[in-house]
Subunit: 376 residues, 2 copies
DNA sequence: TTGTACGCGTTATCAC
DNA sequence: GTGATAACGCGTACAA
């Protein structure tokens, strides 16, 4: 019964109710009263053309006469038409959507990176589907990936830190059955495209700075060593010390859990073991803050007795007391780069090609302030 | 030519290539080689049932015989079938997706709130489509809303602070033509559902605490007064002072831009004007940090000479020197509540009903530490 | 209980 | 340059 074109009259069955539309001048009032889902067919009828032509006007993929293009444009505006991206994605087999899987958005690094991701995605015309893991070693990887692929995302950004064996699921064949992916901050793996900060270089930067300032016993305040980033920063610290012929023994390592509270406690214990320490490299600014706190409480002057360097350059770090020397990651840039690389993969795949997954490292930068004796 | 069922043989035209499938035992090899988009039809053929039956098994909306249900389940697993949510959303007229429009994700409050939003959304089975504004007074409101409605989100969470007239676009008729929405942190408006922290109560809490501690000249360090939140906190500060019969004049107000740097500068200027100030309520913890810095630099002892209270309870605030007394917002809870309220609206609308938009205020809580002389 | 035939809103192919 | 028509993958009255 539906769609029996007959003379100037068209009957259309829609959502259970029958609506009569008189061509070629549809009754505007009736159209306005309908609770809004105006489709490409409505536009076509109003402009007196076929739906295909409207589509051509909208996407610009095929030439269309100037006169009709204007009629269509007017109809679009008058009806307040908005293309249904769901339907478009269905037939296009591409949703212009990127999936972002992240952890720890309440912390400085991840949220900053997400902002960069969103910016670049918007610039390239992608929408973002956001999925958060509750813990870095969340077991729900499969469910998250299933949901994302079910929604037909064009690509996935995996912004979860590598801790423990939470990345064990990643292998080449598994990746092959997934949409293009890019990983943030993880160890090199065959078949996986990666974008990360060069943590080792950052730690070397910090440690070398302390050595250059004349410090001889440089302790390190780390996050959990189950984190790959922590192991990298540990390696950088060790590299710099060994290159300078200085001690880099386990006795100088204090492990905490990234928080200021734990940082304070860990340093307190470390200073009991090794009262000769004259410098500390803390693996993030929060723990550096805890370290400052510990020194103040213990009557050790910073930087006179102990020099301290952090990692991240959080906005607050400039206002610690004393102001914190720290290592700056280019987090937003990291996010933008991830999107760009993913975009390249997607375009390549759509053209049948396939990119050999590369690894990009971003170099961090040392910000010298008072806590290392560098300034002030 | 497509879909000519004929005996045990079915020809299907797909993506430009012809594939022959022999029923009732399809050639598995052929199925595996196809570059993956396995549909409900494939599952049906393999299970020897109709697509409709498969759908019934998957959605559970209609009863189905136990024996066939098992055959279907097996076929699903063997083929690794994943329903296409795009297609499902198209026919269901509902995408199980929420749009989140946010600003300032790199800051503590918004990112924390987003985490709460995501948690609750996931619990209710929604996916999240994320859109970020570059500035709170971003002019691109229409484009953002258009994209979200084009993707047929079931509802929208507007998590952008009210600053200047950036919310001027919100009016009852406009809202009527949009999917259900909920707004965070904005002034009451007819027809708009709102979830917010009771900023006025929070400021009163902080100020009253200072008064109770014996302070008599309580200055305030505000963010930009173009922000609605700031005006609310100002009002709370004024309320408490006036109720106590104390001065609450403009001379005690210093405006900054939320950053520690500006907070420090603003307080410095304020102390020149009013050296008699013996307490400061800072509208966020960053500015409180700047204030601490200022006092240290100026030789004013905290809390002895000047007591300081912040707002937000950032994790670092407990490790400022001295530890910061502050007002804690329940940010994640705010996000969860927003999702729940939006969910209610959505369900109501789907049943033809319509909720009268309500406003929910969450009460903040005072965290007393050393900077106000309260502890330590 | 299960199969058949549409419809959801859009694009692509192929005629004219 | 434009108009039919067939997909895209899934849900669902309706019939069997």
């Amino acid at each position: 019964m539906p769609c029996q074109g007959e003379g100037g009259i068209t009957w259309r069955h829609r959502r259970g109710s029958i609506t009569a539309i008189i061509s070629p001048l549809p009754n505007v009032k009736v159209l306005m009263e309908r609770s809004h889902p105006v489709t490409i067919v409505d536009v076509a009828e109003r402009a007196g053309v076929s739906p295909g032509t409207v589509s051509n006007v909208l996407t610009g993929k095929r030439p269309v006469a100037e006169s009709t293009r204007q009629r269509v444009q007017r109809a679009v505006e008058e009806l307040g038409y908005q293309p249904n991206l769901l339907a478009r994605s269905l037939v296009n087999r591409s949703s212009n959507t990127l999936g972002v899987v992240a952890y720890g958005l309440e912390y400085y690094g991840p949220s900053r990176t997400l902002v960069g991701i969103e910016r670049q995605a918007a610039e390239l015309g992608y929408s973002l589907l956001l999925d958060l893991l509750h813990r870095p070693d969340d077991q729900d990887v499969d469910a998250v990936l299933a949901e994302l692929t079910a929604r037909r995302v064009d690509g996935i950004i995996w912004a979860v830190h590598e801790v423990g064996d939470n990345h064990a699921w990643i292998d080449e064949t598994r990746l092959h059955s997934l949409p293009p992916m890019i990983f943030l901050t993880m160890e090199q793996r065959p078949g996986a495209a990666i974008v990360a900060t060069d943590n080792r270089a950052g730690a070397r930067l910090a440690t070398q700075h302390l050595i250059d300032a004349g410090r001889r016993t440089v302790g390190i305040l780390t996050g959990p060593t189950s984190w790959w980033e922590v192991r990298e920063r540990l390696a950088g610290w060790r590299n710099a010390l060994e290159a300078a012929g200085l001690e880099a023994s386990p006795a100088l390592i204090a492990e905490a859990d990234w928080t200021a509270a734990a940082g304070e406690a860990a340093l307190k214990a470390l200073l009991v073991r090794r009262p000769d320490i004259d410098a500390i490299f803390a693996c993030n600014d929060q723990m550096a803050l805890g370290a400052l706190h510990c020194c103040l409480a213990a009557g050790r002057r910073v930087p006179h007795d102990i020099a301290i360097v952090g990692f991240d350059n959080t906005p607050e770090s400039a206002f610690f007391w004393p102001a914190l020397t720290t290592v700056r990651q280019h987090l937003a840039e990291l996010g933008r780069l991830a999107v760009n690389e993913l975009h390249r993969q997607i375009e390549a795949q759509q053209q049948g090609a396939t990119l050999t997954p590369a690894r990009h490292l971003l170099h961090p930068e040392l910000i010298v302030r008072a806590s290392s004796g560098g300034a002030g």
